[in-house]
Each structure stands twice: as C-alpha cells, then as structure tokens.
C-alpha cells in the first residue's frame, strides 16, 4: 500500500487557471508538508500542518492555499497560475515526537507545467 500518495502525478495547465493537488497519507502521522522542487532540484518547504493546524507558512504567494480536512490529508490549491509556478510539488508526512522534525516520508510528486 502506498504510504503517501499524491494526485495528479502530472498537471499541465495554462496561465491564469486555478488547480488543486491532493495528498493523502496512511501512516497515521500527525504532521504533513508541502515542498516545491525547482528545475535545479532545490527543495524548499512551503507549508506544514500538525494535527490540521498550520505550523509553517514560508514566504509563498497567497495564491497558494493549503487545506487540511483531517490529519491524513493535506491539499494544495493554487489560484491564478503563473509560469514560475512550474515545478515538482512534493507532499510529505512525519510523526513528530518532539519539536524537531524526524524522518519524513515523501509522496511521488506532482509535476506542474504552466504554459
């Protein structure tokens, strides 16, 4: 069974559109993350939720809005897509036993291409 799943795997859309990426984990973890990996493979945290509560919100345009309906799901909605949003977006989860993040489990990624 897939531990962290994302849909869709590929997303091609035009500038100005609104799109969503869904993430689900079946590991029973309390914390979920969204990362963006650019064309140079640099991985940067965007958001983190712990038990449905937003705990990290890095400098990300407010066109990006995460939503966590329950602790097993963390979705990412993007409004008014721009060319610079093209990247691979990864969802991840971890079991936080203290304040420090421990090992994270990553989804397969969603490759977003904005034309």
């Amino acid at each position: 069974d897939t531990a962290v799943s994302q849909t869709p795997k590929y997303l091609v859309t035009q500038m100005g559109n609104d799109k969503s990426i869904k993430c689900e984990q079946n590991l029973g973890h309390d914390t979920m993350y969204w990362y963006k990996q650019d064309s140079k493979k640099f991985l940067k945290i965007m958001f983190s939720y712990n038990n449905k509560e937003l705990i990290i919100n890095e400098t990300v345009p407010n066109r990006f809005s995460p939503k966590s309906p329950d602790k097993a799901h963390l979705n990412l909605h993007i409004n008014s897509l721009e060319l610079g949003d093209s990247a691979v977006y990864f969802c991840a989860s971890s079991a936080r036993t203290s304040g420090s993040p421990y090992e994270q489990y990553f989804g397969p990624g969603t490759r977003l291409t904005v034309t």
Partner: protein, 111 residues
C-alpha cells in the same frame, strides 16, 4: 541564507567503488538526515544522525557528523548501479519545525 551546500554536485564512479558526498550547513541543529531521490520519484529517507552523534552506519551507508565544522558526509561503500540517484542532506535546525535541504549530489554508478 539557510541553504546549505553539498559537494560534489555530480559524481560518477564505477560499480564497486566507494562514493563520498559532503554536506555543509550554517546553523545549530538537532539532527541531520540523508535522503535519496531516484529520477522522477519522491525522496526516500536513508539515515538520521543526531547532533550528539559523530558516526552512524546502516548497511553500506556510513554517515559522519562534525557539528564544530557544521558538516556531514555520506559514504556509500561497494556501490551498485542501483545506487544511481540524487542524494540530499537535510538538517533540523534548532528551534525550527521543518527540515532544510542541501543542494544535492547527483551520483552515477557505471556498471
């Protein structure tokens, strides 16, 4: 910048050789982790070393941590073609809730 660096950026070796990758970071940390990313896939956790540890082993992997130099290294012994991937270090900065990732090393193991 909280971004660290890894070197080399790319490494190409023959099967059976050892591969060493280095990671440098800039802050105090609670732990440091190494991840592997195969082409077109998500990251897979390999090993975690705590700030009070200096060396850790897992199978063919050996990780060292020098907090005084703010650096870590990952050694893969007796490499295999299946080890071909990008390797990332990630550190848990003291007081922060998330990991910060290095720039990655692209390893190619030639059969």
């Amino acid at each position: 910048s909280q971004q660290g660096e890894e070197d080399p950026q790319a490494l190409s070796i023959q099967e059976g050789e050892n591969a060493t990758m280095n990671c440098s970071y800039k802050t105090s940390i609670n732990n440091l982790q190494w991840y592997r990313q195969n082409s077109g896939r998500g990251l897979v956790h390999l090993i975690l070393i705590r700030s009070n540890e200096r060396e850790k082993h897992s199978g063919r992997l050996r990780v060292t941590l020098d907090t005084s130099k703010k650096s870590s290294s990952l050694l893969i012994t007796a490499s295999r073609a299946a080890d071909t991937a990008s390797y990332f270090c990630a550190w848990a900065q003291t007081g922060a809730n998330n990991l910060f990732f290095g720039t990655g090393t692209r390893l190619t193991v030639i059969p």
